[in-house]
């Protein structure tokens, strides 16, 4: 029966060690021999402290003594305590982790069960690395998406919102005014630079681009300073558009159009060139008087712009019903 019992312990897939009262090894199963390359005959009667130096420290040897004294089992986790027995099945450099469960069998015997978790820890480590990698990739994708979103919604030359962005924003603003039964009105300003083609032909597109950038900067700065409830965008080429909300009638739109024209009429100082002067025409449609949809408001503002263009340019005009 005893032989059969020890044979059974040899077949177990965990390490089994029995110690006597003086911490000497009285049983060492095959699993332990396989992992440590120390056979049972080599370790029998040798103290555990010699085989596993960790037990030589007072911290661990007192744990063994206290289990003998109190009969209370102890669990030592590999995550906290690390290596107790060298594992020669693994390549050097592995961080060996073993869980130990130590129990008193009787007054003279202590049982130590050793569970090697190195492989498991390694997998957890690799999995953590993989998750970190995925998280990093995810962050990069998010950043790229943000950039793509900006590109899709922004004019790359002037950094102003583009046509698509303006249409979306105006749609939302109209819905907001309609849904809240707001008394506020909304002016849609269509701006066309009168002389940009001439400048492009005379000085080249690079100078034309610099004027567009400077113009965008001047107009958006002045709008921001006078009214936060406005939104400006570059539609295409030399066409810009903005909408502005007013709670004090269309007088506000008059003054805004004048401010924009004043800003445009200031000379543009492009390096190595004499100060350049350009002019602009502005057509304005008003929600809800002229139209109530995005498309119609832009169409009416465009018609008003046409009126300015045909009557001398460098001015602004409200849409007039035929």
């Amino acid at each position: 029966m005893t032989k059969c019992f020890y044979d059974l312990l040899d077949k177990l897939k965990i390490g089994i060690i029995l110690l006597d009262r003086h911490h000497r090894i009285i049983f060492w199963n095959q699993w332990m021999s396989k992992k440590t390359e120390k056979t049972a005959s080599e370790v029998l009667s040798i103290s555990i402290e010699e085989i596993s130096p960790k037990f030589a420290s007072s911290k661990y040897s007192s744990i063994l003594d206290s289990i003998f004294e109190t009969g209370q089992s102890r669990f030592l986790s590999g995550a906290v305590h690390g290596t107790f027995f060298q594992n020669f099945e693994l390549q050097p450099g592995y961080d060996i982790k073993q869980n130990l469960q130590i129990e008193k069998v009787d007054e003279h015997t202590l049982l130590i069960q050793v569970e090697d978790l190195t492989g498991h820890y390694q997998k957890v480590k690799q999995l953590r690395k993989f998750i970190d990698h995925l998280e990093k990739e995810n962050d990069e994708i998010k950043q790229m998406e943000e950039i793509s979103r900006k590109i899709a919604m922004q004019d790359t030359l002037t950094q102003l919102p583009n046509r698509l962005s303006f249409l979306n924003s105006l749609e939302l603003k109209l819905n907001e005014l309609k849904n809240t039964n707001s008394k506020n009105i909304l002016g849609v300003f269509f701006i066309d630079l009168d002389d940009l083609k001439k400048i492009n032909d005379t000085y080249g597109h690079k100078v034309g681009d610099e004027i567009l950038i400077e113009f965008a900067n001047r107009v958006s700065t002045s709008l921001n300073s006078i009214n936060s409830k406005s939104f400006i965008a570059r539609l295409a080429g030399d066409e810009f558009v903005f909408y502005s909300e007013s709670d004090s009638g269309i007088a506000k739109f008059n003054s805004q159009a004048e401010i924009v024209l004043d800003k445009i009429n200031l000379p543009f100082n492009i390096k190595n060139l004499i100060p350049l002067k350009i002019r602009a025409s502005i057509g304005i449609s008003v929600f809800p008087y002229d139209a109530t949809t995005v498309e119609d408001l832009l169409d009416k503002a465009d018609k008003a712009l046409y009126m300015v263009k045909t009557s001398g340019k460098n001015n602004y005009e409200f849409y007039k019903h035929p």
Binding site: G71, Q72, L76, G78, A79, V80, E103
Partner: protein, 206 residues
């Protein structure tokens, strides 16, 4: 169930038991760990008594439990919020804890091993010292640790199989974190009487 005098004496003993657990825990965590027991109460689960404290807040909890037996027998449990358990694990592993959102919080296998050791140390001290106090041998093994999701209304349901509960509301004070937990010792009628008799005996001696 017990009068104030009995309760005071019990609290005094338990403070000593828990103090021993704290010093063992300090050794594992490599930092000073203070375990305090602000309150002790005995609850009869069969009666509709209201617990003086919420055992755990709504959400995930880590529950370690083990049966102990012989002349003094029952079930011992250590319960604390899972998110806070992670602080304890990180401290024991010498890692710095990061504040994480509830939905990002997770415990992995190795964390459970550490929690098993923490529970082992604490429950060993408490139950071991009870057996010393009662001059009896108590047999018990290593606790099982599980992660559970419990709503506040399920608190008593979670404990319903046991009749008398000795509640020890504990708090772990680590360098940077305070972790509230509860040690519950569920006792049968005989074991509870044995404990009360012992307390009366000590009080009589005094």
């Amino acid at each position: 169930m017990i009068n104030e005098l009995q309760k005071d004496l019990l609290r005094e003993y338990i403070n000593v038991f828990i103090g021993q657990a704290a010093s063992m825990l300090s050794e594992i965590a490599n930092q000073r760990v203070i375990l305090s027991v602000p309150e002790v109460e005995i609850v009869n689960m069969a009666e509709e008594e209201v617990l003086s404290h919420n055992l755990f807040s709504h959400g995930h909890i880590v529950s370690s439990s083990m049966k102990f037996g012989n002349e003094f027998s029952g079930r011992a449990m250590l319960i604390f919020p899972a998110k806070k358990a992670k602080f304890l694990v990180d401290a024991c592993m010498g890692m710095e804890s990061e504040e994480v959102l509830d939905e990002e919080f997770h415990l992995i296998d190795t964390d459970f091993d550490v929690l098993k050791e923490i529970s082992n140390v604490i429950l060993n001290s408490v139950i071991g010292e009870f057996s010393n106090l009662l001059d009896t041998t108590v047999e018990f093994s290593i606790p099982d640790v599980e992660l559970l999701f419990v709503s506040e209304s399920e608190q008593k349901m979670y404990l319903k199989n046991d009749i008398y509960m000795l509640m020890l509301y504990t708090s772990f004070q680590l360098a940077e974190a305070k972790i509230d937990g509860v040690v519950i010792v569920a006792l049968g009628m005989n074991s509870l009487n044995k404990l009360i008799d012992k307390i009366n005996e000590i009080l009589g001696d005094i």
